[in-house]
């Protein structure tokens, strides 16, 4: 970590070279600006969700009387209420709450790995990186279960009226994909797949990067290099993935 000092002689311009005005390495800066651009991508997805949702009417009745319909946007807690091994029990948002907790915990273990890296403590970096990888894999497994549940659908089909060949027919729909959606307007399912899918892909990439860092730590690459800055850079990415989930949790599941 060649930390150039930012203090310059009076009158000397900080931006004229020879010093590091942002007091951060090239790699860390580029990670920051990549994350900024990634924040724009995720904002694009989440804000478009907001637009499409605002363009649909909300369910007007009491929450207890809610049923799935194409007429209005679904209440998310009525859609996401399943938990593994507890079939048929209505536990709104419990599973997604657990997923949020898992991701926050893996962010904590990551920051502990970074702290250990500052101290050149190879054993501690290995330990915390392993916990972080485990957290990431657990989150991905939870997401796989949630996607499966969303796609397969509930026990009872939703009845939709559809206008086909000049007459109204009633269609039974179970589950959701990019063509049908039992939970409400088609856009709702599409956004579910795109937003959580894009985030899940980030988690997946993060797990791969974390594993690479773990591998390099175990083989002593960073010890020979004399610093653990790679842990910091990938740490930034991993915290960002957690940050995005905080927003997805609020704007997709809670609101």
């Amino acid at each position: 970590m060649a930390h150039a000092t930012t203090t310059t002689a009076p009158g000397q311009d900080v931006w004229n070279g020879g010093v590091s005005p942002l007091d951060a390495s090239y790699g860390k800066l580029m990670m920051w600006f990549f994350l900024l651009s990634d924040a724009f991508t995720f904002s694009g997805l989440l804000i478009t969700y907001g637009l499409v949702r605002a363009a649909h009417p909300a369910f007007a009745g009491a929450a207890d009387a809610f049923v799935f319909s194409h007429e209005y946007w679904p209440i998310p807690e009525k859609v996401f209420e399943a938990v593994p091994f507890l079939h048929g029990v209505s536990l709104p948002l419990v599973f997604v709450g657990i997923m949020t907790f898992i991701l926050i915990m893996s962010s904590v273990t990551m920051v502990l790995a970074v702290e250990a890296g500052h101290r050149m403590d190879r054993k501690a970096v290995e330990k915390w990186m392993l916990w972080t990888i485990l957290g990431g894999i657990t989150f991905l497994s939870c997401q796989a279960w949630e996607w499966t549940h969303f796609i397969v659908g509930t026990d009872t089909p939703t009845l939709f009226k559809d206008f086909v060949n000049g007459q109204w027919i009633t269609k039974e729909v179970i589950g959701a994909n990019l063509h049908v959606n039992q939970y409400g307007p088609q856009d709702f399912a599409d956004f579910f797949f795109f937003i959580t899918g894009f985030h899940g892909f980030h988690v997946f990439s993060g797990v791969l990067l974390n594993f690479l860092i773990y591998y390099n730590t175990v083989t002593g690459v960073y010890q020979r290099r004399g610093h653990y800055e790679m842990v910091e850079k990938v740490g930034l990415y991993w915290h960002f993935v957690d940050l995005v989930w905080v927003f997805v949790f609020t704007f997709f599941y809670l609101v």
């Binding site: 930012t6 005005p21 942002l22 007091d23 951060a24 800066l29 920051w32 900024l36 924040a39 724009f40 904002s43 694009g44 804000i47 478009t48 907001g50 637009l51 499409v52 949702r53 605002a54 363009a55 649909h56 009417p57 909300a58 929450a63 209440i75 807690e77 709104p92 948002l93 709450g97 949020t100 907790f101 926050i104 962010s107 904590v108 990551m110 920051v111 502990l112 702290e115 250990a116 500052h118 101290r119 050149m120 403590d121 190879r122 501690a124 002593g220 010890q223 020979r224 930034l236 915290h239 960002f240 957690d242 940050l243 905080v246 927003f247 949790f249 609020t250 704007f251 809670l254 609101v255």
Partner: protein, 111 residues
């Protein structure tokens, strides 16, 4: 051949108790806020007030993650602001798109 091992020269510093304690405090705050969000989801009626509470709590959580975990709070000012200022565009996009969405709703569901 002198097999000079560099690894013996590396000094491992002891854990920074102060810093680690602070990190766990932040983790606790994030966990608590998520718990509160979960409770509020069932204790408040749906409406602009509930949404505002969620938005404020989310921004507080984001502040802790970016400021403490990602260490941005302790970076030099130029770096801090070059990350923060572009966020204004996201806020503008949010305002513009939500306004547009409500107008679309007026057009689509007039009947």
């Amino acid at each position: 051949m002198a097999h000079h091992s560099e690894e013996t020269e590396i000094t491992v510093l002891p854990p920074d108790k102060e810093k680690i304690k602070k990190l766990w405090t932040v983790a606790g705050i994030l966990g608590l806020l998520t718990g509160f969000e979960f409770l509020i989801a069932f204790m408040m009626h749906h409406g602009p007030l509930k949404t505002s509470v969620f938005v404020v709590m989310t921004i507080v959580k984001a502040g802790y993650i970016v400021g403490e975990f990602m260490h941005l709070r302790y970076e030099v000012k130029v770096l801090f602001w070059s990350i923060m200022i572009p966020i204004v565009f996201i806020v503008w996009m949010l305002v513009a798109f939500l306004y547009e969405g409500m107008k679309l709703s007026d057009i689509n569901f007039l009947n």
